[in-house]
């Protein structure tokens, strides 16, 4: 049964007008390449939005851990050993060896200890730099 009345008449009039206008629009021919490219783009955007978040956290965290371990190994790594095999405690003691305090503490152990240290230091301090002081006149 068809509805009749004033509102129904107005709606029908608008509908008919829109249909007449749509009939006058000329549609371009279908572009398959453009269609497929657009679909690919839509699909790519859709897949990025759904990527797992844990990648974004894990990669930087692993990088920080690796770099941190590298720094720790370099700074706190195995204590260097001297040529005679003794553990070098020099890293922890920042007062230079040929200092007043170092010699005083050694002197407190006796003359022999001080002289032995001086003999050792004389061998390692100021190694010979012959090229700077050699002269063809000699």
């Amino acid at each position: 049964m068809k509805n009749t009345g004033p509102q129904n008449d107005d709606t029908a009039a608008v509908r008919e007008a829109l249909q007449r206008d749509a009939g006058r629009v000329q549609l371009p021919p279908f572009n398959a390449a453009l269609h497929h490219a657009t679909m690919r783009r839509i699909r790519t955007l859709a897949s990025a939005d759904h990527a797992p978040l844990w990648w974004r956290v894990a990669l930087p965290a692993v990088a920080v851990i690796v770099i941190g371990m590298g720094i720790a190994v370099w700074h706190f790594g195995p204590t260097p050993r001297t040529t005679d095999g003794t553990v070098a405690a020099a890293m922890a003691i920042t007062v230079p060896r040929a200092s007043s305090w170092t010699y005083q503490r050694t002197a407190a152990q006796g003359d022999e200890a001080l002289l032995a240290m001086l003999d050792r230091d004389a061998r390692t301090l100021l190694p010979p730099s012959a090229p700077a002081f050699s002269t063809p006149l000699h």
Partner: protein, 381 residues
């Protein structure tokens, strides 16, 4: 005539200016020349370095060919000029650095002194007595230069070098004729005096001054700086643990202030005692030592240097010098009666002449200093 006399007088006055003038260069600080000589030393193997030390101390005879092979001629030439420089010797110690003040020269200067002594021995071995004596005087000058700096380490090095030279001269002097012996004695007397133990001890106050400055710093820098110097972190030895423990308590700012005030007071007393003859100074130092042990201050016991042994050392060296003077005066004619006319520097007791089982003669002091150790100068080889 009058004109001629005036012109002659004028020419006479101008004569010094007309001579070749080699004195217009200012004398160089010997310390700088010693470093140049040290830089010219060739690389020595451990064995060669040990051999050089043992030749200098007389433990093994000097072989001139071995000395030549070391290639030390250039260093030796410069060393002699360094020792002869009349300029004051200034090692450039940064005293404001307190315990961190670097003293690399004390080890090198000993090495150079050994070189001078080996040069002397080589000269004697080759019959060049005058050159040998000149090298002995060089070594004596090196000793005096090494003592510059107003600190006890320099004083100890000075004492060690001077003792080695005195012993070396004693080994050789019986082979010199009377004129040579007396000439050497005159030259020895003309040398500047050794740096005194009192002067050296006075300079030790720089450590207290440094700590007073550090104690004014704001935390945490204050504690960081004190730990940096005094705490032996990372060292697992018992000595390190004991030192760390002993340094922990006094390091609070107010406690440290009181400790440093006590150190200053004790330092002043010790310095005064160092300037006294042995019979007066020794009892004072013993009283100071007792006060230190009873003081209850921790740092005092560590910072106040082992003053007693340094004090005695000056008198040991002075006694050895008296012994050498006796040997230079009398040579092979030295006997017990003549020896007894010379006295030690401690209590003024007469020296004794002792003949050892190998036939060598030695001058010996009446008392042992330090306890258990003879003060002895062996004469001849």
């Amino acid at each position: 005539m009058k004109t001629a006399l005036i012109l002659a007088a004028f020419a006479f006055l101008l004569l010094p200016a007309l001579r070749a003038d080699d004195t217009h260069y200012s004398p160089v600080n010997p310390a700088l020349l010693y470093w140049q000589a040290a830089a010219m030393l060739p690389h020595l193997s451990d064995a060669q370095a040990t051999e050089l030390r043992e030749m200098a101390s007389g433990k093994q005879p000097t072989d001139p060919a071995k000395l030549k092979a070391l290639g030390v001629d250039s260093a030796a030439r410069l060393l002699r000029r360094a020792a002869a420089s009349p300029a004051p010797c200034d090692w450039g110690l940064l005293k404001e650095d307190g315990p961190e003040a670097l003293m690399p020269h004390v080890s090198k200067i000993r090495e150079l002194a050994n070189l001078a002594l080996v040069e002397a021995e080589a000269s004697f071995a080759q019959g060049r007595v005058a050159e040998g004596l000149d090298w002995f005087l060089t070594a004596h000058r090196i000793a005096r230069h090494s003592g510059a700096g107003e600190n006890l380490i320099s004083f100890l090095v000075q004492s060690a070098i001077e003792t080695t030279v005195l012993n070396a001269a004693a080994r050789s002097c019986l082979g010199w004729d009377e004129a040579t012996r007396r000439g050497y004695a005159r030259n020895l007397k003309a040398l500047p005096p050794l740096h005194s133990s009192q002067e050296s001890y006075r300079g030790e106050l720089v450590l207290t001054e440094w700590m007073e400055r550090i104690n004014q710093l704001a935390e945490p820098r204050r504690t960081e700086k004190l730990d940096e110097v005094f705490k032996m972190a990372g060292n697992a030895s018992k000595e390190a643990a004991a030192q760390n423990e002993s340094f922990a308590a006094p390091m609070a700012q107010e406690t440290l202030r009181k400790e440093l005030a006590a150190i200053r007071e004790l330092h002043t007393r010790t310095e005064a005692a160092f300037g006294k003859p042995w019979k007066e100074g020794k009892p004072e130092l013993k009283a100071i030592e007792k006060d230190i042990q009873q003081s209850g201050f921790t740092l005092v016991k560590i910072i106040i240097p082992a003053s007693a042994s340094c004090y005695d050392k000056a008198f040991v060296v002075a006694t050895l010098r008296t012994m050498l003077d006796a040997a230079l005066e009398h040579g092979a004619q030295l006997d017990e009666a003549r020896a007894a006319t010379y006295h030690d520097a401690f209590e003024g007791k007469p020296l004794r002449l002792q003949k050892s089982t190998d036939g060598a003669f030695s001058l010996i002091a009446a008392e042992k200093h330090p306890k258990g150790k003879d003060i002895k100068l062996k004469l001849g080889r």
